[in-house]
């Protein structure tokens, strides 16, 4: 019988998401070199940084799609650094992917209800009801019977958000949710995300949409070279960035 230190058994803070000393390497490439982040309940944290800075990997570690090599990862009270307990997180957090990853052989409603039926094991009637509610929240109540291929990119991403929402997640993760969209479709997705933030959803968002970061985030984290270089309120990070790298990055993305 292995006895565990108290640190491993209970979360160190009341934060929804708490990472400390997280390291990750892929082969020779060290992607994360010791990252600490906390996300409080109801908080919206936006991760920004150049591609390759490790922010997507960090997000994937938060929902156990990647596992940290070192460090502690607590999400919704589950220690993801504990291999045996990590799978408890599935079904309790939502993930929105850059490529949507909708199930192409199922309708919008079929996508949203699949996990309700198979994981929550509620009745078809109750699942349909909750599924339609979730679709209504993203403004797609009338698209319940459409297949993903019949929807625009923006609509597909909103279905993907509804699919995550239907499970009543404790935290929602967004991995560059608008990067695969035509520019004119970005607004409908960030609009939905903004309304979720207003409703008090805990969110961690990796994005290049600086406007969204500026007006929706409670907290902005700038990552560079696998570490958190700078963080703070959007006013602080965007208004008076302390680090030269942050200034450079913001200069580049805000000018275009």
């Amino acid at each position: 019988m292995i006895t565990k230190s108290p640190m491993e058994r209970t979360p160190p803070t009341t934060a929804q998401v708490a990472l400390s000393g997280v390291h990750k390497r892929f082969g020779d490439l060290e992607v994360l070199k010791g990252v600490d982040i906390e996300v409080g309940s109801g908080e919206v944290v936006v991760l920004i940084g150049a591609s390759g800075s490790g922010k997507s990997t960090l997000l994937r570690i938060m929902c156990d799609l990647e596992r940290a090599d070192r460090g502690e990862v607590w999400v919704n009270g589950v220690p993801l650094h504990d291999r045996r307990r990590a799978p408890e997180i599935f079904g309790h957090v939502g993930m929105v992917f850059q490529q949507f990853n909708l199930f192409p052989h199922r309708t919008a409603l079929g996508n949203v209800t699949l996990a309700l039926l198979k994981v929550r094991k509620i009745s078809r009637k109750a699942a349909d009801e909750r599924g339609r509610e979730a679709l209504a929240r993203v403004g797609l109540a009338d698209k319940a019977d459409a297949y993903p291929a019949q929807l625009s990119g923006g609509q597909q991403q909103r279905v993907a958000i509804a699919r995550a929402l239907a499970m009543d997640p404790a935290v929602m993760f967004f991995d560059e949710p608008t990067s695969a969209l035509d520019p004119e479709l970005v607004g409908e997705v960030t609009g939905v995300m903004r309304s979720l933030a207003d409703e008090g959803m805990t969110m961690v968002v990796v994005t290049h949409e600086m406007r969204f970061a500026r007006d929706t985030a409670d907290h902005v984290v700038f990552m560079d070279g696998g570490v958190v270089l700078e963080q703070g309120t959007p006013e602080r990070v965007f208004g008076s960035p302390a680090e030269a790298r942050t200034q450079q990055f913001l200069h580049r993305v805000l000018d275009t």
């Binding site: 799609l65 599935f90 939502g94 993930m95 990853n101 909708l102 052989h105 699949l114 996990a115 699919r163």
Partner: protein, 216 residues
Amino acid sequence: MDWSVLWSNRDLYASGLWSTVELSAAAIAACTLLGLVIAAIRTSRIPVLAQLARCYLEVFRGTPLLVQMLFIYFGAAYLGIGNISVFGAALLALTLFQGAYVAEIFRSGIEAVPRGQWEAARVLGLSRVQTFGTVILPQTRAIVLPPLVGQYLSLVKDTSIAVVIGYAELLREGQAIVDRDGHPGMAYLAIAVLYFVICSPLSVVVRRMERKAVTA
């Protein structure tokens, strides 16, 4: 041409036809199931199991069905299987042989489904088995069905190999008729026609699916 030879032996032809259909149907069901399981194991990358599955594929695709069938029937005693029936040996050999090809068909279908589908299902809380059944397999349909039915066609024709271990299928009955009444040309033509009768509905299904796949 003396058609009466065919008619007078209609019972033998019918019983041969029935035996062939029976063996084909059982082998199609069994090799599909085996192929699915092997493909699932191969794509799961579970250490030892995946390697074993690979060995199985190499062995059964690298040796002739004829040899496999003879070995299973006559070698059964060595292997301790004891009294394997002729039907059992024929079914086992066909299943193992065709299962190897069916597994590769399923594997290519499964691998064509993007990894993001697995990831989305996983975060939603679906188990691997649930994901395989409700998310991955349905998406392989269009890729898998045409070559799968093609494989079934070759399986139906391969049942004729069971003649070597004495299974009383279509070819065997035909040979018996030739031995007794002569007219080999007529008899073998009749047998070919009967195989064609079993296979043609399958061919029609494939062609319809291929046409659908092009327009889709």
